[in-house]
């Protein structure tokens, strides 16, 4: 029998997938708060672990869309990944230098933006 902790993690993965399938938002908006509130993760640990999970989630989606349906523009994606990678390296570096509660507040602002976008849509 898997441990209770593993079952809870499985629930996080399934919920992240459900929201991804429903709204096309990445799992991160679901994974980060659940790791914080259900597992007592600190903000930095939650966001780092979320990125690790997103690698797998995105990979499965990209392979399905690209491999089966040919919808991925590989050249454009790779080219635009260069500035995006620059951003994530800066973002992680900045995150180590700000208080963890600032990360919570930034995340709350992101959720507020998503909620407004969904409501006025």
């Amino acid at each position: 029998m898997p441990s209770e902790r593993t079952l809870k993690l499985a629930a996080v993965g399934t919920l992240a997938g459900i929201f991804s399938g429903l709204f096309g938002v990445g799992g991160g908006t679901v994974i980060v708060p659940l790791l914080i509130f259900w597992f007592g993760y600190g903000e930095r640990m939650a966001t780092g672990t979320s990125l690790g999970a997103i690698v797998l989630i995105g990979l499965l989606g990209a392979v399905a869309q690209g491999g089966f349906y040919g919808n991925v523009h590989v050249g454009t994606g790779l080219l635009l990944s260069i500035p995006a990678v620059l951003g994530v390296v800066m973002g992680t570096a900045i995150q180590q230098r700000i208080p963890q509660r600032a990360v919570s507040l930034l995340f709350a602002a992101l959720l507020l933006g998503i909620a407004i976008e969904l409501i006025v849509k």
Partner: protein
């Protein structure tokens, strides 16, 4: 010029990934559809490729900072496709507007919880490494 905007938005998407641990699709999808001219489906699919690269580099950086629980990340990632399947089925059965408003309400509720957390325990907030049960 459009390419420059797309690149700037991609930087912002990466920044969001590094700061709050999301893939940044909220930003990269519009940059691909509006400034590069891809269709919505192509934009979302191409964005997935970018998200994988961004998340991979971000996870490596966070690992170097000691902020990655690899085992938990793997369990979450491996179990997500089941959820995607459920989400797609539910999305086709339940009215889209009801789903959007429910998710908006949930997002506001979680945002409120995060604000309270940041407000209440500024000193201890966020020391946990997810290892205690």
């Amino acid at each position: 010029m459009d390419e420059l905007f797309a690149a700037l938005i991609a930087v912002a998407g990466g920044l969001a990934g590094g700061l709050v641990g999301v893939g940044g699709g909220v930003l990269t999808v519009p940059s691909l559809t509006i400034y590069i001219g891809l269709s919505q489906l192509e934009g979302e699919s191409t964005s997935l490729l970018m998200i994988v690269i961004v998340a991979l580099v971000g996870a490596f950086r966070q690992n170097a900072y000691g902020n990655l629980n690899l085992r938990d990340a793997l369990v979450i990632g491996v179990l997500s496709p089941l959820g995607v399947l459920i989400g797609v089925v539910v999305g086709n059965e339940v009215p889209q507007r009801a789903l959007e408003l429910s998710f908006a309400a949930l997002a506001l509720y979680v945002a409120w919880g995060l604000v309270r957390r940041a407000w209440r325990a500024p000193d201890q907030a966020g020391q946990g490494r997810g290892e205690a049960e």
